[in-house]
């Protein structure tokens, strides 16, 4: 009954009285959205403009035409290329291994009762709300002892470790909701439990895995603090601290067009993912447990 009414609501014709009540709401939303869109579009415009034009406040006139060479300059001469590639490596490898490690753990936690199950799953939840400052000092000591400082491996390892609690907790709801008949049928057909997981349960949890994968990718891409401490040299920096160092140097050289181009380059990957998959991402924020 309720569902039917909901469907009717969508097709409801324009009702002046009902809409009038909503006008204040519309105004607020439109102000907020307009602000966001204006700021964003201005940055895009500025990235195609020249420094003198930006300074004069004539960014939107494009008096001297478009300047895509800002992007070429930002990409090659300011190390953005290096930071971009680093972040891509961290995000792709980090996401892949996080899921490879978390999915089996999550499956076992969601499906089997054993000693320590509760302890482990609540530890993961606690770990999600621990400030990074609480773990970073000993990790730095460990990394130095293992001669891993100044390498990319340490950052990948840390990102995997830090995403595991969130990823495992997130996937548990997906595994818990799958029907037990799949496993029973597989067992009758002589499929071993491990094979059942990789061949049957993993593909069934795919929607959850894709969502959590996107979150992992975006979290690692946008990460700042850990990258700043463990990726100290420009060679290993990810886009966060990298962009900051570019900004500092460009402010002194006064290449504003290049600066905004660099911002757009860093902004684009996660933005494109969001444009394509925003529904999935938004549903995932609150859908599968709490994001840490």
């Amino acid at each position: 009954m309720a569902k039917k009414e909901k469907e009717k609501k969508v097709r409801e014709p324009f009702n002046a009285k009902r809409e009038a009540k909503l006008i204040p709401g519309y105004i607020l939303l439109i102000i907020w959205v307009a602000f966001t869109v204006c700021a964003l579009l201005w940055i895009v415009a500025a990235s195609f403009s020249t420094s003198p034009e930006i300074m004069k406040g004539q960014t939107l006139k494009f008096a001297s035409g478009l300047h895509p060479e800002n992007y070429a300059a930002a990409w090659s001469s300011n190390n953005i290329k290096v930071f971009f590639m680093n972040s891509a490596i961290y995000a792709v490898l980090g996401t892949f291994f996080t899921i490879l490690i978390s999915a089996p753990c999550s499956y076992v936690l969601a499906r089997f009762t054993f000693l320590g199950n509760k302890v482990l799953s609540s530890s993961f939840i606690v770990a999600m709300s621990i400030p990074q400052i609480m773990i970073v000092l000993p990790l730095f000591g460990l990394a130095t002892k293992a001669h891993l400082t100044g390498t990319k491996i340490i950052l990948i390892l840390l990102y995997i470790g830090m995403q595991v609690p969130f990823t495992t907790t997130f996937l548990m709801t997906f595994f818990a909701n799958l029907s037990r008949t799949y496993e029973e049928a597989a067992a009758i057909d002589g499929c071993s439990p491990m094979k059942t997981f990789w061949k049957i349960m993993m593909p069934l949890a795919q929607p959850g895995i894709v969502t959590v994968g996107i979150f992992n990718f975006m979290n690692i891409w946008n990460e700042y603090f850990i990258s700043l401490i463990f990726g100290a040299t420009e060679k290993n920096m990810s886009v966060g601290p990298g962009l900051k160092s570019v900004l500092t140097s460009m402010q002194y050289t006064g290449n504003w067009g290049g600066l905004f181009a660099a911002v757009i380059i860093v902004f684009l990957p996660t933005f494109i993912i969001y444009v394509v998959l925003s529904e999935k991402i938004i549903a995932g924020v609150t859908g599968g447990g709490i994001k840490g």
Binding site: Y26, S129, V285
Partner: protein, 295 residues
């Protein structure tokens, strides 16, 4: 099979969370010259590190800044996000579009977002806010330097809040959407208007969600770092410094804050911040009980 599936995750958890947490707590009780020093070089000082922190005026400033960010920012973010969530569920058109745009800042790199605010929105020459105020003929307001020492802190909080509203709005939305529309139909038939419905139905039923929101807000504001770094030109800018920045300067970056090299102090900052999260969480659980209502 259970063991095989759990082992990698458990090893990572022990190595990256449990061991460092325990070690940080221990470190906070020692005087340690270098972060990487082995244990035998540590000297036990008890709670001296904590006492020293509370007596450092820069750390007190940093903590007070963080508290203000948490309180003012929290008020702004909670109000706006709840307002947007209520508007979005009131039956407007284009709900998905608005929701997507409002959440968008959350998926963008904080550095890029902060740059947008610093170099454009707040710009004293061609900034968005300046242009808006000029168009409204509020010329006196338009002349205000938004990034000088007087206004920097508020500018920082506002820019940070802008990004956080979307995330908390989604948490509110999930709570509101869980309430069955039949309740509202019944209330409407009984003659309760929208405001009464919000006050006597939505608010009590959202208590649990409110708790989640506060906890999440506290967890994310404790780690306040990037924004602070980008809004300050020097390491120890008293307007924007937070405990994270203080700790980072203390241990990893020279800058102008370091008075003595002691990693124990950094560890103590970590322990104090974690305690804050625990305290907020405990208070929330004590004050807000959401188990007395079933729906």
């Amino acid at each position: 099979m259970i063991v095989v599936f759990l082992t990698p995750a458990v090893i990572l958890f022990l190595g990256i969370f449990l061991y460092p947490i325990v070690r940080t707590v221990i470190m906070s009780l020692f005087n340690i010259e270098g972060v990487t020093d082995p244990m035998k070089l540590w000297t036990f000082v008890g709670v001296d590190n904590y006492v020293k922190l509370f007596n450092t005026s820069l750390f007190r400033t940093a903590s007070f800044n963080l508290f203000r960010i948490w309180l003012y920012g929290g008020l702004i973010v909670m109000t706006l996000s709840l307002l947007f969530a209520v508007i979005l569920t009131s039956g407007i058109r284009g709900k998905k579009f608005f929701r997507a745009i409002i959440y968008m800042p959350n998926i963008v790199s904080a550095v890029a977002l902060a740059t947008m605010w610093l170099q454009y929105v707040y710009s004293p020459r061609f900034g968005l806010i300046k242009s808006i105020l000029e168009t409204l003929h509020l010329d006196n307001l338009a002349k205000v330097q938004l990034l000088d020492n007087e206004h920097k802190f508020m500018a920082l909080v506002l820019a940070y809040c802008f990004g956080m509203v979307g995330y908390h709005m989604l948490i509110w939305l999930s709570g509101i959407e869980r309430i069955s529309p039949e309740y509202y139909e019944a209330a409407t038939i009984d003659g309760a208007n929208k405001i009464a419905q919000f006050r006597y139905m939505t608010m009590p039923l959202l208590k649990g969600v409110f708790k989640t929101n506060i906890t999440m807000w506290s967890v994310s504001s404790v780690g306040f770092f990037v924004w602070s770094q980008l809004f300050s030109n020097v390491t120890a800018d008293t307007q924007t410094i937070t405990p994270y920045v203080y700790m980072y300067a203390q241990i990893f970056g020279g800058g102008n804050t370091v008075t003595e090299r002691n990693s124990g102090l950094g560890a103590a900052v970590g322990v104090l911040l974690s305690l804050c999260v625990v305290i907020v969480f405990t208070i929330c659980n004590k004050v807000i009980r959401d188990d007395d209502l079933e729906f």
